[in-house]
Symmetry: C2
Subunit: 266 residues, 2 copies
């Protein structure tokens, strides 16, 4: 077992080196997606696959989660729904929802009753980890894009804005081309259907402010160049309208995406 | 003046060779988009531009239409709404709606009162022509895709199915790769939100049936190869549920699309 670098307070997460099933379910994926976390006396383990046709609208691609916690199937469903809404339902690779999306959770009860809050925390962590791995492994992707929308009037508004940006072909191509195209981002916000005021929006690439109160700030080329060297890009949108937040995960759109999607033969 | 080959019964359509304004409004467009039709004693002339960020949701990109027919502004608005819903609002290049979509019609009344039905016919023809020219000239496009959906329960259902297919990145990449990927088409229908029965759907590429009653028919490779040599592809979907129909226009997604969209510098 190998310790993960990324962890959550109080959660010990592990990656198994030898899980053959995580390898066996892959199709065009470049990387295995698996995780296990241990909290108190219970464990949650999970694997997933997914690379293209990723824009989940129910649960997700293929994701199998197991735990030894003792939980009723009704409660388990509610826990999974909460986690899936934060994770699998907030990723998009190509805006094409698959007919085969699936997230399954199985509990055998061997570890006995568990603390509900901690279980939800652990499951959120596991699902978010897998969702990000799927987005990062998107067909032809060269980097993960994370869109964090702050201060929306409702959570649904925050989700709409985050998903509109992460799903825009033009935004994805601009990121592939290392261009901080705030115009395409504002355009995607405009198409999201969410409530916002143009003159209030701030847009950041990592910590660098590109747009302030809806106006271009004139970005620093050297800073943007440094930011675009990383294999993860954080886009932050501050709507300054309310108190709700959401984060969506996706990837850039590369020449390789079109090649892979075009060369497939029916 | 040069006669167009494509015409409508009773409508004489013309392309002017010397209209400099149709040239002047182009940005990344490869081709001018202009048309004039003469019906009875009145004329409708129009130009448009558009290539990327095309997924109109009100009128369209930039489209300027003029006529010498005598029509009230209220009636003119209704005529244009009807035509735009059949044309500009049924095209998609990249699913990204622009902030600057616009279709304008101006009437100076010099030709006097006109037959309303004929005027609507003429305006439909003009708008459909321009919309198709825009779809054909989509960024990086190598061919026009026309999706005709038949026998839906409502017109809205037919429109949803047609637009879902024309907007799917995976369908567009498959067409670029000359692959008759009926699976991606059925998947897009599934994501459209329209009413349908899987076991009833027929899918055709031109006259060649790929799917019958929801089942793959085993296509003829040589026939498909011939079909994919044309610079227009007609995809027909027969839902066999009702009596309504709609047609959407788009283009394939090529490596050039990503190159053009990625190399743009803010």
């Amino acid at each position: 077992m190998e310790r993960m670098r990324e962890g959550m307070k109080g959660i010990k997460s592990q990656l198994s080196k030898e899980s053959e099933i995580a390898q066996a379910i892959l199709t065009i994926d470049k990387a295995k997606k698996e995780i296990a976390v241990r909290i108190d006396k219970f464990t949650i383990g999970a694997i997933a696959k997914g690379s293209g046709m990723i824009h989940p609208n129910m649960a997700t691609m293929l994701s199998f989660i197991t735990t030894d916690a003792e939980i009723s199937s009704k409660a388990l469903r509610a826990f999974l729904k909460h986690s899936a809404d934060l994770s699998f339902n907030m990723i998009s690779v190509d805006r094409d929802t698959s007919t085969s999306d699936m997230a399954v959770i199985l509990a055998n009860g061997l570890a006995g009753k568990v603390d509900a809050k901690k279980f939800q925390q652990g499951l959120d962590f596991v699902c978010m980890y897998l969702a990000k791995e799927i987005a990062k492994d998107g067909e032809g992707s060269t980097r993960l894009i994370k869109v964090n929308v702050k201060n929306a009037v409702t959570e649904n508004d925050a989700r709409k804005v985050a998903k509109a940006i992460i799903s825009s072909n033009l935004v994805k191509c601009a990121v592939f081309g290392n261009d901080p195209n705030w115009g395409r981002i504002l355009c995607a916000i405009g198409n999201s259907g969410a409530h916002f005021t143009e003159g209030k929006i701030d847009v950041y690439f990592d910590e660098h402010k590109l747009v302030g109160d809806g106006m271009a700030k004139g970005f620093d080329k050297a800073t943007v160049k440094e930011i675009m060297k990383n294999d993860e890009l954080l886009v932050t949108i501050d709507l300054k309208e309310g108190k709700h937040e959401a984060t969506a995960y996706g990837c850039d759109m590369s020449l390789e995406y079109v090649k892979l999607s075009a060369q497939y033969k029916t």
